[in-house]
Subunit: 441 residues, 2 copies
């Protein structure tokens, strides 16, 4: 019987360690990203986990014919690390020997090793398994990893417990028609539009919870802002004194995460030339005041008193940016009519709710608010809306058997990433996006 | 306009800080978990985020009538922290004033504040939103959070990149009948059985990737080991020299995670009386040898040469435990027939694959192995199996355009948790389990 003790032999130099090996011979592994033939020598870029390594091929020191090298071949490379001022990293690798682990069977159908992939969005996505190998494309999702790590670190430090709620559910939290239906062993089930019910239940257990997981919206909108499956960063917290605490918590989370990215993902921020937003403070404006402001300043007629048009979100961003310098703006007190049945109404004006959206560079990235915690109040509101409380028996247990005043929010990970990178379509920030037309790759 | 600066006023004592306030008066928030009336006074347990706080009610110092207190009421409590040897925490809280934030509308239909919830599994799950408030029940999922944190920390430190792959997919990775079907805007789509295709694609991008996310199996097995939705901890890594590296990596991940739990989740380990396994090393045995061993030692006829019966997994555990002391065992070289089309076959014996399962206390918790990376080899194997490669165009891009030798594994989070806690049903380790009959809560 073999015995597996967890020891992993490291026979190769880690790409992150190369700068400590200047003047030495190293062996490392990676993909041939790009070959640029010059007269008498060649520049070869080796793609490793996170970095690109500038290598030099020359008949002077390379012990194999250049023709052997193919882009996207995976190799074990032995060479000398030499200081070189003109290289971004301060060194380059003189290729001596190469061993091939795999080679592409066909030439790539699309150029992936230029600064950007020059292709339409559809082509970029059709070839996602290979276009993601582009230096900038992959940096987007490395940064997205960093965003999640930042959120998670912050929430854990604030005593939030991470949960995993089911995505196959018996009822939709948000209601409406935009819900995917599923045959569940002969019964009708749905894909969760949000972890709303579950995170509220879990407030009764841990007081503060969060989840980072997929949610599903069967919306038929074919826009630059909608995905049918996306990653929602959800949090819910108990013992709220005011829904303002939720906005404070989100602001702090964003501040922490931006600092975290600056610290841990500086190379991706630089490569993607990210304009990192300043989040010293975020202005908050009431929904009706925001509508009025846009109307007054931009001489627009208000067509819909209960919601923003996408154009209005952009105008609001511009107004706020000009006035305060902020890339973010909280919009508060949304009309009760437009918010779900669990939203708590303003004590002084039941026409509006203790709720908010967060807009980032003109796009809604978060919806949040305080929830009803009183059982009778919740039942009454459901009845007013023509809902049948008996269909929500297990959800209503949380109200019936005692829950503190609480609230929470959901942040769309792809939307946040996309606005951070100032992309004009949220699909650029989804690894394998799902939309009305796209189910592959 | 309001300005939200991320500052959160902390007007209350954090429960974690109480021991630093002995001799002082504090105000904190929580739920009344349990009231035990004694003669002339009462023990009251306050449930906070993660701990239970022993409080004393007495007419001597409490400025409110005891009858006001109700179990599961949420309160703001002011009292004196007093050193008390007989309390587990070394102190107790003398209740002075109480303010009610919410009260249960009805008495609880089930007792949740005993040491364990005395109820059948079905009742426990039917009332999940409240039974999870039990001290031990909630400790299970706090520990599960710790397991995920341990895995994630470890993988991040080993340069794995965390990804989010779609769960609505165009084809099933594992094939077979156990797949949930979905109407996706008039087209047939599926719920992902695993992130297999995507994590392999991403090896070409980041070399090492992982994902912790739900997967779906429409299995009609109503057993103590099956869930229809569960959390899969998946990893995939490139530049494998042998599939043994995967077992070494998993062993190290488990070692790290167990140490992490000991450090960060000691209170839950103690409360749940967890027998923490020793993972100095894990024995590995070939599948056919394991079958023979069980047959020889336990005088059993081998009925199925290609798979284990559940009973055999338990017997193997007992044999290995006796011989080596290990609670874990790797079983390697599973028959090719029983492994998916992407499994790499043993060069010396194509009847078996470079694959493994990990059994923990008699239950399979992981399946892993090396994958085919050569394009022609993959196409050939698909054709041999009667599959149509054209239906897998975007998956096969990874082979066609170059990928290093690679492999990976998937670990079932609920199964691992459940075996760690020696529960007799995996449902105890699923927050809101989904099975053949259960779709609620």
């Amino acid at each position: 019987m073999l015995s597996i003790n967890g020891n992993i032999n490291i026979n190769y130099t880690e790409p992150e360690e190369l700068r400590n090996h200047i003047g030495k011979t190293v062996t490392l592994r990676g993909s041939i990203y790009k070959i640029r033939n010059m007269s008498g020598f060649a520049f070869v870029i080796l793609r490793t986990r996170r970095s690109m390594i500038q290598c030099i091929y020359s008949e002077e020191f390379s012990e194999f014919p250049l023709e052997l090298l193919k882009e996207e071949a995976c190799v074990i490379l032995t060479g000398d690390v030499v200081a070189e001022e003109r290289s971004k990293t301060g060194f380059e690798l003189r290729m001596k020997q190469v061993e091939f682990l795999s080679s592409p069977a066909e030439e790539l159908p699309i150029v992936i090793n230029n600064k950007v992939v020059e292709a339409s969005l559809d082509t970029l996505l059709d070839y996602r398994p290979i276009t993601l190998r582009n230096e900038k494309e992959r940096a987007i999702f490395k940064l997205q990893e960093g965003i999640c790590r930042g959120f998670r670190d912050f929430l854990t430090s604030r005593q939030f417990t991470e949960i995993h709620s089911p995505k196959i559910v018996y009822a939709g939290a948000e209601g409406g028609a935009n819900i995917f239906r599923l045959d569940y062993f002969g019964r009708e089930a749905y894909l969760a539009q949000s972890p709303q019910f579950y995170k509220q239940m879990m407030v009764g257990v841990y007081e503060r919870v969060f989840e980072i997981a997929p949610v599903y919206r069967a919306e038929k909108h074919d826009t630059s802002r909608h995905l049918n499956e996306y990653i929602s960063v959800d949090l819910e917290m108990g013992y709220l004194e005011s829904f303002h605490e939720l906005m404070q918590m989100e602001t702090r989370m964003l501040q922490y995460t931006i600092d975290f990215l600056r610290r841990e993902y500086a190379q991706e921020l630089a490569l993607l030339q990210v304009k990192v937003p300043d989040i010293t403070s975020i202005p908050a404006i009431r929904f009706h005041e925001a509508k009025q402001l846009i109307s007054d300043r931009c001489k627009r007629e208000i067509k819909d008193m209960e919601d923003f048009e996408p154009e209005e979100e952009k105008l609001l961003y511009e107004l706020i940016k000009k006035e305060t310098g902020s890339d973010f703006v909280f919009v508060t007190h949304y009309p009760t009519k437009k918010r779900p049945f669990y939203a708590m109404e303003d004590k002084d004006n039941p026409e509006v709710t203790y709720s908010f959206d967060l807009l980032f560079r003109g796009l809604e990235i978060t919806t949040g608010g305080q929830r009803i915690h009183n059982y009778e109040e919740q039942i009454k509101k459901m009845l007013t809306r023509g809902m049948n409380p008996q269909a929500f028996g297990s959800y209503l247990m949380l109200h019936k058997y005692g829950i503190p005043p609480h609230g929470g929010l959901g942040l769309g990970l792809e939307r946040f990433t996309s606005r951070l990178l100032e992309q004009n379509n949220v699909r650029y920030a989804a690894l394998f996006p799902r939309d009305l037309k796209r189910l592959t790759p």
